[in-house]
Symmetry: C2
Subunit: 162 residues, 2 copies
């Protein structure tokens, strides 16, 4: 949406502002027996909106050229981007179009994890420990279960400075 032409579609700055308000860079680390190390790292970017604003999600999806729109809960829908190939597009977008609020910090940590995953370090114990520590300082500083698990606390307690 240009300042001087109300008929234009929302521009990238609008998307950055909207994501500064509503976007979420999230990385889950979940127990998964059939993974080599028993844990799966699942990064995702998402924006949740009420059904009435599904068109805004569709527009952002078309600009980012990735993501699926699916029901989040009740009347709420989300644009959700998963998968390394797509998430690398997200990283490239927000490297070029810089977030303004402290959400940029979450993005930077998210980018670090995507970078580790690009190098397949999440498939090593050291890499997994490092990712779990990064997750622990992202978003609302929730400690992933991975770090609380009895198997991993000893392994990670003295490792790495992020």
């Amino acid at each position: 949406m240009g300042a001087d032409n109300q008929q234009e579609r929302p521009d990238t700055s609008w998307i950055v502002g909207f994501v500064d308000g509503e976007g979420c860079f999230y990385v889950g680390i979940n127990k998964m027996q059939n993974m080599t190390l028993g844990w799966q790292v699942l990064p995702e970017f998402r924006i949740v909106q009420h059904r009435r604003d599904i068109d805004a999600l569709r527009h952002i999806q078309s600009v980012l050229e990735c993501g699926k729109i699916c029901r989040n809960h009740g009347d709420r829908f989300e644009l959700r981007v998963r998968g390394l190939k797509n998430l690398n597009k997200i990283v490239a977008f927000f490297e070029k179009h810089r977030l303004v609020t402290k959400k940029r910090f979450d993005f930077q940590k998210f980018r670090e994890i995507i970078s580790l995953m690009n190098r397949r370090e999440h498939l090593t114990q050291d890499g997994l420990d490092r990712i779990a520590k990064i997750i622990a300082i992202m978003n609302r500083h929730t400690t992933p279960k991975y770090l609380e698990s009895s198997e991993t606390i000893c392994q990670t307690s003295e490792k790495m400075k992020i």
Copy 2:
């Protein structure tokens, strides 16, 4: 923030995107014994953010050239714009820089109320009834106490189509 110059300040499109996500156009209608009709209409525009993003609020305040930043609750702060003179600036800004989500609907209703107040119609019974009806369809469709009050229900029940 320009797409190609990461050192620029966030631009108006960023502000529109941020307000599409986080902004609130609110009109209260409160009992006030010393007002002629016994009710006060109190429109305000606000954006609430965690303390960590108070700089974003300050930036928006400087672009809009109005508003006060004050504590909302706990670690949350708000940029709050009140007063007809300032709210006319807000209306002019979002007329020029168009909201994208369904928040535009709330803005349009907000603008109607500001327009009525500019014409001092909120000081008449008809104007007050009309404003209360508009409020009832804004935001989350909460019915203002004004419309629930026994003195006004009979007066407003058959009036106006918004």
